[in-house]
Amino acid sequence: MSVKKFIVGNFYDEAVLFPAVKKVRRAGYKIHDVYTPFPIHGLDKEMGLKDTSLHVAGFIYGITGTTTAVSFITWALTVDWQINFGGKPFFSLPAWIPITFELTVLFAAVGMVLTFCWLCQLAPFVKKDHFNPRSTDDTFVMAVECTDKTSEAEGIAFLQSVGASEVSVQYRETGWWLGRYDRDTTRFGKKVEAAV
């Protein structure tokens, strides 16, 4: 387990944070993450994060639910144990719509929430680190990852110049609890802008 060095800057206004993220990335620093007390629309794009495909997963879970309901009820009522309800056909699809719909929603919702928890590695008893506990209150915390080439002094000065209020250097053991964004992030100026 290696220990990594981070330069951590606090911001108190999202209006300062937005241009700061851009400048920090443009200057070639690698933003490990920005921790915010509430969702800030557009920040993910600014950080070069790809869109999430959680909704695609939701769709797949949903149609799984639909198929499960239709195929199971069909099998149970037309193959396994046929019951004659007043001479109506065994395969009475309209009467199955309610349960089919409910199972679609149930599968999609449960599946998506579990996927969400899995992707974000959230579960009871999980402990994670977000550098500054105030980041769930009123502080936007930017953590910049230092490499061998990064000069600590320069990095601190740069973060201060873009509007960070308190800047500190913090060391963390790396691991899944710090998040795994390398796969999700594209380098600034490469893929994201090329796609546009």
Binding site: F18, L49, A109, V113, D138
Partner: protein
């Protein structure tokens, strides 16, 4: 650019007072982090007492069977199913507020959605009790599930509305719970990071699931909320539709009607909002959250009440018209004799329903009344009395005299154990709500912060600047977040 999004000056602020992000956290966390008041204890103990009474009532019913209730061959559903439909209906406002209003981008939902969703979950828990204990041999309750059994396997009847109900209610409960709890994660993390006592750190540490507020997590969280809202919207409509199918697919006079699904859904929203008003008027006062649950919120919800109350009124009149127009004697008897005739045994309940649900909400056409807290509180109680009687009218006045006069029932009154069961669900509901208001943030902290700079009182004045900007400049700002600063 400190404005996240522009909103017209005409719209009143929905967060009052001079708030910043930290103040929002402080205000909403305060009730959780301080000792509960005497009033809280009094309410909590009364609720526990009611819950105990309910427990005894249900125990009596389990030991001695459903004969403990005044149900018979004619009135097979009485107070129990009335209460079931009533509670399910109340459980509709939460998801409506959190899901449908999210899709409609209604900012005011952020002040009330957390408490309303909690109310939904507790109400559905209460509703579920009734069909479960009504089974009589409750230890065989799992028979309602389609599991491979040694009786064939003989499957449950997938064509039956009662089975649809099993799926609808359990799905609704599960999805509401997931929606509510996923929204709670960030706020639990806020409480965890503020916690000073050891037990508090541990409790909220577990409850927050390790939430950090990472941008990627927020991005997924937003996607999750949006899709869950999209799923919950048809779900909430489907649940009461399916509950109405319990009646509408039968051939009992007064039930055998196609208007039931929209009529039930409107009634559900109507009673749900009334219950939200009852709870929030008390909550905002006791927890000093008037800055977040403002008079604007109350007024908007009163508008929903007058709208849905009028829809329900139209449905009542349509039913009467259809009974007359159908020329079916059974239908006509059910409506004009059993219900409309004040001198018939249950005529009083029909007119009580009409008065509470259709006439009294019309007072909310007046702005002064919509913004009057006392009137609102009184009305919220009245509406729920009316909506209880709506279900009572539908169930009892249809059942007690059906096609065969020789099997007509005598006057049905509940036994003490039926009443005790009903009061017991109040105990369950309020015990849960009291615990919720003590240990959970009753307002979505992160969501209030999200709208603060758009809808906050102290930020509203800054809209002036945007108002006077040229369209080009505004569009440019919106497209390139903060580029020029």
């Amino acid at each position: 650019m400190s404005l996240l999004r522009y909103e017209s000056q005409v719209r009143p602020p929905i967060v009052d007072g001079n708030k910043d992000y930290h103040q929002v956290t402080e205000d909403i966390c305060r009730p959780v982090e301080t000792k509960p008041s005497k009033l809280w204890w009094v309410g909590f103990i009364i609720s526990l007492g009611l819950l105990g009474f309910g427990f005894v009532s249900v125990t009596m019913e389990v030991i001695y069977g459903t004969g403990q209730w005044n149900l018979g061959k004619t009135i097979g559903w009485g107070w129990d199913i009335t209460n079931f439909v009533w509670w399910v209906g109340i459980g509709h406002a939460g998801t409506l507020i959190s899901a449908i209003l999210l899709l409609f981008r209604q900012g005011w939902r952020t002040g009330v959605n957390r408490a309303a969703e909690a109310m939904t979950i507790f109400a559905v828990m209460c509703a579920g009790q009734f069909p479960i204990w009504h089974m009589g041999r409750v230890w065989n309750g799992f028979f309602v599930l389609p599991y491979p059994n040694t009786r064939g396997p003989l499957w449950v009847n997938f064509n039956s509305p009662l089975l649809w109900d099993v799926f609808a209610i359990s799905t609704y409960f599960t999805v509401s719970l997931l929606f509510w709890y996923s929204g709670l994660l960030p706020d639990m993390a806020t409480l965890r990071d503020r916690a000073k006592e050891k037990w508090r750190k541990a409790f909220y540490g577990v409850a927050a699931f390790g939430w950090t507020g990472s941008t990627k997590h927020w991005q997924r969280h937003e996607a999750l909320s949006l899709v869950l809202a999209g799923l919950s919207t048809p779900l909430v409509l489907s649940v009461h539709t399916i509950v109405s199918f319990d009646f509408a697919t039968s051939v009992i006079p007064g039930w055998h009607t196609t208007i039931f699904p929209p009529y039930f859904v409107a009634g559900a929203v109507f009673s749900g909002f009334a219950m939200v008003q009852t709870l929030l008027l008390i909550t905002r006062k006791v927890l000093a959250l008037e800055d977040y649950i403002t008079i604007e919120h109350i007024e908007v919800m009163n508008k929903v009440i007058v709208l849905t109350g009028s829809i329900v009124g139209i449905a009542y009149l349509t039913e009467l018209f259809m009974a007359w127009y159908s020329a079916v004697p059974g239908e006509q008897y059910a409506f004009f004799e059993n219900r409309l005739n004040l001198n018939s045994p249950y005529g009083w309940s029909y007119w009580l329903m009409m008065g509470c649900n259709v006439l009294s909400p019309q007072i909310f056409w007046f702005r002064k009344m919509r913004r009057n807290l006392l009137v609102t509180f009184f009305m919220s109680i009245l509406v729920n009395i009316g909506m209880w009687f709506e279900r009572f009218v539908i169930i009892v006045t249809s059942l007690y005299r059906d096609y065969l006069p020789s099997s007509w029932s005598t006057y049905y009154t509940p036994t003490i154990w039926e009443i005790g069961f009903y009061l017991g669900t109040f105990g369950l509901f309020f015990t849960c709500y009291f615990l919720f208001s003590k240990y959970f943030p009753v307002i979505a902290i992160a969501e209030i912060k999200h709208i603060l700079k758009k809808n906050g009182d102290n930020y509203k004045s800054q809209m002036d600047k945007v108002e006077n900007e040229s369209i080009e400049k505004f569009a440019d700002d919106e497209l390139h977040h903060g580029d020029h600063h």
